[in-house]
Structure formats: structure tokens, C-alpha cells
Chain length 245, copies 2
DNA sequence: ATAGCATTATTTATCATACAAATGCAATTG
DNA sequence: CAATTGCATTTGTATGATAAATAATGCTAT
């Protein structure tokens, strides 16, 4: 497959910026299993032909994958896929690239479990540390959820923002990073789980209660409500799985 | 500063593999504050002269930093340092590079807080899911701690392995990744906190109790003991701070 | 004068090519 | 048979040229 070229107004062929496209394509081939862990990627020169770009681009793309722990390169040996343990799955770009393979790789359950540990603590901290502005922003996200109505896409987007803001309001940079990182994962999970009308209603109610706890600086209440949110998320995901596995 | 060269047996000048060295050097200059967030790095050509390497190497090093969210590059603008929010601090290489600046950046407290959320949950899961072999390995690490005696270095190494194995035994890839990631941070924190004789004794006792809980599949006990370990770590760190701030 | 537009200058992005270094593999040699 | 030497292959680095993007500048027209 060669990289697409675009027609400029004057009719000149323009080559789009391609480094990231190549990196993404290679990464997705890894996550899809096309390149199994431990196996060799094609030689750099072969990749040049495959993608129709210079070796410079191929190498810089491979450097990106190396930086994320997906591959290692050595002279004469070639570039080989690292064991999964070494993949930097706490990198949001990596999570984006994994995308539809999240569940197949067993990461959805991992993520829900991890959120179960992190979000309650983050909510507790947010109840103590969040500024009035941050609480107001979270409430705005909640209102966006409530106002989404049947627009599932808008609901998901608002829900994602809600959790990201909550983690940021914990004023802990680790949790905050985790929030940005959960973005693609959340989108994927939410988009695949069931969305009945009463389901959305219940979710909106829970989120609202959490906002209220933040306002009251009720850290214990916030913790419990965050825990309940995760429990509901787990339930939704397993329900969605039983419908269409 | 030019990259050092080595004298080969025959007297030929050999250039060591330098990409990573350059990336590390630039990253450390960022974390030390030499390149403030939002400011420009030198032009690629200037960096070539500074490090005495070709533009190829400079660019591939910058690609690594880009992949970790430390900088962004755009034509005509140059390469600028990203805001700290975007730094990929959940990358163990980044954490290594931060090294001595961990505390100055306020990350030690963040990490302790995050561990407070994660390790109890991980211990709980490990009590349910760990294989006999994994428990044995954890116990071996504990024995190494006990046998370290006054060798603080060995004690720290064993302690690090203990926590890494514990997180791995949770059979959750997120937690596992977090363990590998904590490695450099743990080393730094442990090496800077107080190490009196009775302190070590108490720590060894707590870790031993946790191993026992794992053996008994006592998830609730494991959770509480992990929590106590973190509390002790927090205490040690603040004690070390009050001694030599 | 000023808002909008074309030009320019500067910097990164890509291409192309050549050579250096590392290393698996085979031939060679003691 | 073992050790070493040389060869072949692949990534690593160097170099120089061209393309694309865009801030800054200057120009034009209103």
C-alpha cells in the first residue's frame, strides 16, 4: 500500500505529512496480530517500497514505535516486536491505536478494574481539593450529559469530559494523566455498551449526585458514588457483551 | 559539548551509538528547567553542532521526545517544550530521566498517593489470583529484604522487586505496567528516606505479613497490609524531608 | 492609516545516497 | 572439532539537496 497523494490547486502532487500515518499503520498491524510479538517487521528498505516513502520517514516512524516499547531494532537482526509486557499501554496514542482491539486484548476488563481503584480515590481528593471553577466545569459537563437526550454521541463525549475533569480536579498529576489516557478507552467502551433510556437516566442521576458531593466537600460520599459509577460501567459492559459477543 | 569518542584497539575512532544519549540529555535539560515549558529548543542545525552529530541523529532523538509528549515540532516555528500536562510521566524512561528532579516536580507525593490507590487493590487481586509460583517469588524477594542486613542498596533492590512482583501477581496489565513504571521512582524515594535499624525491621515484618496474607488467600488482609505499607512509606518520606530538606 | 494580500525568509519535513558498525552465518584453519 | 576469520545483511550515521509550512515583512488598495 502506498501513501495517498493529494492534488493541489495548481495540479502539483503534494505529499502529506506521513510520519505519524506510517507509525500508526505499523502499530495497528502489531495490535491486530499481523505482526506477532517476537516476529520481525519487514526490512526498512522493504517498508520504504511498501509505503512509498523514503527510509528517513520509515526510520523516524520506527523510532516512535521504539519509544513506546512496541519494537526494538538491532543491526543485522532487524526490527522485532516486543513482548506485550513491554508495550507502553499507558500511552494514550498507543491506546488510540489499539482501538477496536481493546477488548480482544483483554484490556477493557483491566481498565475497568484500574478505574475501580483510581476514580474513587480521585473523587475523594477532588472533593477536598477542587476549586469552585473546577466543580462548575464538572457540573457543566454533567448538564451536557443531561441535555444530550437521545444523542448518544453527545452523551458519550460529555461523559468522557466529565471523568477527565474529575480526575484533573484531584490535583494529582498521575491521576490527571490517567484521565487523558482513558479518553479513547472510555469512548470505545461507552460506544459498545447498552444505552437504554432508563439506563441513561440512572447514569445522569449518579453523576449529578457526585457533583453534589463535590460541592458539599463530602469526600467519603464522593468516593462511594465514584465506586458506584464504576460498578455500573462494569455492569453495562458485561450486559453489552451478553447481547452481542 | 561534543559526543565523546572512543579509541578502538587498532586506533580507529569509534562513534558510540548516540541517539538515546542525545534524547536523554535533551530530556534532562527539559526536566532541569534549562528549557522551560513553552520555550524553544535550539534549531536542529545548532543542536548538530552542539552535540557534534549529524542532523539525522538529532531528528531521531527529537522524534523520541515527541513520542513521549515532551516537545512538538513545526516548520518555521521550531521545536518547543510542551506544557507539563502533556508530558508522558507514565513512561518509565521519562521517569528515569526525571530522576533527581522527581521531588522538585512534586511527583513524589503524587506517586505515593497513586500507590495508595493502586497497591491495596493490586494486593487484594493478587491474593485471589496469584499462582503458587508467583507467591513463592514474592516471598523470595521478601527473604532477600530480610537477608540484606545493613546493605541498604540490596534492601532497596529487593523491596523494588517485591512491589513489582506483587503488582504483576494482580494479573492486571495496567497495574503490572504501573509496577515497572514505579521502579525508578521507588529507587529514588527509598534511597532518600530514612533507614534506621528498627525501621528496616518494621518494614520487613509488614512485608512478611503481606506474603502470609497472599498464602492464605486473605484478600481483605492483603489490602489492609498494602495500605499500611504505603502509609509507612509516606511517613518515611516526610521524615526524611524534615531531616534534610 | 489600515485591513487585506502577496512576498520572503526561516525552519522543519522529506528524499536520496553513501558509508560505518554490528552480527548471524559460513568457510577456513589449527 | 573448536576457534577464528571473513562475508553478507541489516540497522546506524553522515551529508546535502529539495519540499512544505508559516511568521514576519512589505505592498497594495481602499
Amino acid at each position: 500500500m502506498t501513501v495517498s497523494t493529494m492534488e493541489a490547486p495548481a495540479g502539483k502532487l503534494i505529499r502529506p505529512r506521513v510520519r505519524l500515518s506510517v507509525a500508526q499503520s505499523l502499530a495497528q498491524d502489531i495490535f491486530s496480530g499481523k505482526f506477532a510479538e517476537g516476529s520481525n517487521l519487514p526490512r526498512e528498505n522493504d517498508l520504504c517500497e511498501e509505503y512509498g516513502v523514503s527510509r528517513t520517514v520509515i526510520r523516524e516512524a520506527l523510532k516512535i514505535l521504539q519509544a513506546k516499547g512496541l519494537v526494538v531494532s538491532r543491526p543485522r537482526i532487524g526490527t522485532i516486536v516486543c513482548p506485550q509486557d513491554e508495550w507502553n499501554i499507558l500511552d494514550n496514542q498507543v491506546l488510540e491505536w489499539i482501538g477496536p482491539n481493546l477488548d480482544r486484548m483483554g484490556l477493557v476488563d483491566c481498565i475497568l478494574e484500574a478505574r475501580g481503584a483510581i476514580e474513587p480515590m480521585a473523587a475523594e481528593l477532588a472533593a477536598r481539593r477542587a476549586t469552585m471553577q473546577e466543580i462548575a466545569d464538572i457540573e457543566a459537563a454533567w448538564q451536557a450529559m443531561a441535555k444530550a437526550g437521545n444523542d448518544v454521541e453527545a452523551f458519550i463525549a460529555a461523559d468522557t469530559v466529565f471523568h477527565e475533569l474529575l480526575l484533573k480536579a484531584s490535583h494529582n498529576r498521575i491521576f490527571q494523566q490517567f484521565g487523558a489516557l482513558m479518553d479513547p478507552a472510555l469512548n470505545f467502551m461507552l460506544s459498545t455498551s447498552a444505552h437504554s433510556a432508563e439506563n441513561l437516566e440512572e447514569s445522569i442521576g449518579q453523576h449529578g449526585a457526585l457533583v453534589e458531593a463535590l460541592r458539599l466537600r463530602d469526600s467519603e460520599g464522593a468516593r462511594k458514588l465514584a465506586l458506584a459509577l464504576i460498578a455500573k460501567a462494569k455492569h453495562d459492559v458485561s450486559a453489552a457483551r451478553s447481547v452481542k459477543p
